[in-house]
Symmetry: C2
C-alpha cells in the first residue's frame, strides 16, 4: 500500500456469494459503498472450511476491529458455509432466521440471509430474496410481480411486503446448455444477434409453446437446408426459450405491475418480450438492488 492511499475501514461488509463467484462491498453504516472486490471462489468450488479463508482473501484489508459481514446466496445452502434454512412463503423477503457462520478470526461475524421455499408447487430461491428486499426497500408498499431473469429465472408475486408465491424457469441454463452441449452447438455461435429472429421465435413460442421440442432441431435443419445464419439461430433460440417461459408464466405477468431485475442485456430482452405481449415492465439494475437488499438486511440486524 502506497503512502498516499488511504486505508479503507468498512463499518460492515456486504457479500453476494453465489455458486460460481463471490462479490463483496466495503460499506459505511450510511449505505455508502467504499470499495468493491470479487473472487471466483464460488460456493461450488469450496468445502465448508474453505469459506473463511476465501472471504478474508477479499475483505481482510477492509477490516480493523469487530466487523459484521452480511451475505446472501448459495453460501447459505446445505453445500455452503453453513445452512441458513429456507423460510416458507408467504413470508417477508428478509425473514427471521439469519444463520451465523462458524469463524476463527476474532471479531469477525458472518450472518447469512435465509433462502425461501414454496411447498406446492415445490420451488426454492437463494439470493433473489435479497434483491426483492432491495427493491421493496426502494419502493415501499409496492405490490406486483418481480421477474429476475438469469440462469434460473424467477417470477415472484409480491404483496403487502411479502413474497406470496414464485416460480422458477431454467431458461438461462437451457440456453447455455443447448447451445454448447447439443448438436445445436454447430449452429449457435457464442456471440451474434438478429432482433427480428428473436421476436419471431418469441411470438412463435408464445403462440404454440408445446412445439418447443420440434423447433429446437429446426434451428439445426434450417442451417443445413436453408442456410440460416448463426446470428439468426442464436437469437431465435433465445426467443423460443423466453417465449415458452412467458407462455407458462402468463398467470404471473398478465395484468400485473411488473419489475424486471437483472443485468442489462438479459433484463432488456425480457422487457422487450413483455412489451410485445402488451405487458409493460420496469427495468431495474441488479447490482444496486442487491446492495440495497444487503443494506436492508444489515439494518434489520443492527436495529
Amino acid at each position: 500500500m502506497t503512502e498516499n492511499m488511504e486505508r479503507i475501514k468498512a463499518d460492515w461488509i456486504a457479500v453476494d456469494w453465489g455458486t460460481s463467484n463471490m462479490r463483496a462491498w466495503a460499506m459505511r453504516s450510511s449505505g455508502t459503498i467504499l470499495a468493491e472486490d470479487r473472487s471466483d471462489l464460488g460456493m461450488g468450488k469450496l468445502t465448508p472450511e474453505g469459506f473463511e479463508p476465501a472471504l478474508l482473501g477479499v475483505i481482510d484489508a477492509w477490516i480493523d476491529g469487530p466487523t459484521t459481514v452480511v451475505a446472501c446466496g448459495m453460501v447459505g445452502s446445505r453445500q455452503g458455509w453453513t445452512e441458513a434454512p429456507y423460510a416458507t412463503v408467504p413470508c417477508p423477503a428478509l425473514p427471521d432466521g439469519f444463520a451465523t457462520a462458524p469463524t476463527k478470526k476474532d471479531g469477525l461475524t458472518v450472518r447469512i440471509i435465509p433462502g425461501i421455499k414454496q411447498d406446492a408447487p415445490a420451488d426454492v430461491m437463494r439470493g433473489e430474496e435479497t434483491q426483492i428486499a432491495g427493491y421493496l426497500a426502494r419502493n415501499p408498499n409496492w405490490d406486483g410481480v418481480i421477474c429476475l431473469p438469469g440462469t434460473h429465472t424467477k417470477w415472484v408475486h409480491v404483496s403487502a411486503g411479502e413474497i406470496v408465491s414464485f416460480q422458477t424457469f431454467m431458461t438461462g441454463e437451457l440456453f447455455a446448455t443447448i447451445s454448447t452441449h447439443t448438436v445445436l452447438r454447430h449452429s449457435i455461435p457464442a456471440e451474434g444477434w438478429d432482433e427480428a429472429a428473436f421476436l419471431e421465435g418469441l411470438s412463435d413460442a408464445v403462440a404454440r409453446p408445446e412445439r418447443i421440442g420440434a423447433r429446437l432441431f429446426s434451428l439445426r435443419a434450417e442451417g443445413l437446408v436453408n442456410g440460416m445464419s448463426g446470428d439468426t439461430a442464436r437469437a431465435r433460440l433465445s426467443g423460443l426459450l423466453i417465449g415458452t417461459e412467458l407462455a407458462a408464466a402468463k398467470p404471473y405477468w398478465l395484468g400485473q405491475q411488473i419489475a424486471v431485475i437483472g443485468a442489462g442485456n438479459i433484463a432488456r430482452l425480457y422487457v422487450d418480450a413483455l412489451a410485445t405481449l402488451s405487458a409493460p415492465a420496469t427495468q431495474v439494475k441488479a447490482d444496486a438492488i442487491t446492495i440495497a437488499g444487503l443494506t436492508a438486511a444489515y439494518g434489520r440486524l443492527k436495529g
Copy 2:
C-alpha cells in the same frame, strides 16, 4: 486365426456409420449375416482420410476380391467420408443418388445412401431413411407413421412407398444434456426408474406442454423441499420430455397406424406412452430393420 476357424468371405458388407460409432456386417447375397463387428471410430472422430483405414480395420478380414460396401448414416454428411447429398421429400426412403466414396484399396467399392431433407419446415435425416426402407421391405404397401425414437427422435409419414413428411424432436439429447449438464444433475441419477412418475410426467406434459420450462426446475425443488427420490426425478423428466414431444407430434400420431422402431427400452417407453393416448403402436427392433434396409439398398445397386 486358428486352424479350425473358417475364414469369412463376405459377398457384400453392410455398414451403419453414425456420429459416435460404426457397425459392420459381413453378408451373403442371400441376406444371411455371416459376421458382425463394430468400432467406436464414428464420423465425429474422423477426417475424410481416416474413413478408409477405419473401415478396413473392421472389415479387412472379410474381404477376398472385389467387394461392395453399402453404408448409411452420418458417413454421408458434409463432414463425413464423402457427401451423399440429401434427396427432398416426397421421395422413396432409398432415393437415387447413392454416393461413391473415394478408396485406395483395389476392388473396394463403398456406396453411401443419401440422407433425406424437407424444405419447410426444414428438417433432415441420415440413417433413419435406411431403417424406414427396411421396414417397408418387410411390410410392402404399408401406409402410416413411423416413429424412430433416439437422440433425435423422428416422426415420419409414409404413404405409397414414399416418405411424405417428417419432423425431428431433440428429446433424447435434451434428456441426456439436462440430466448431466444442468443443475438437475444433482437430482437425476444415471440409472433408476419409477414407472408411475414417468406416466405422471407424461400426462402432465401432454395436458400442459407449455409448462415444460417450469416443470424442469421443479424436479430440483421437489428434491430439496419434499425429498423426491432420484428414481422418481429421472423417470418424471423422461415423461415430461416425451410428453412434450407427443403433444407437438399429435398431427403425426392421431388416428394413424404407428410403428415404433428403436432399441428395446426407449421404443417400449414410446409404445407405452402412445398407449396412454389411445394410440396403439407396433414395436420393431432397430438392428434387424437396419440390416433389412441396407440389404434392400444392396439389392437396388445390384439389380
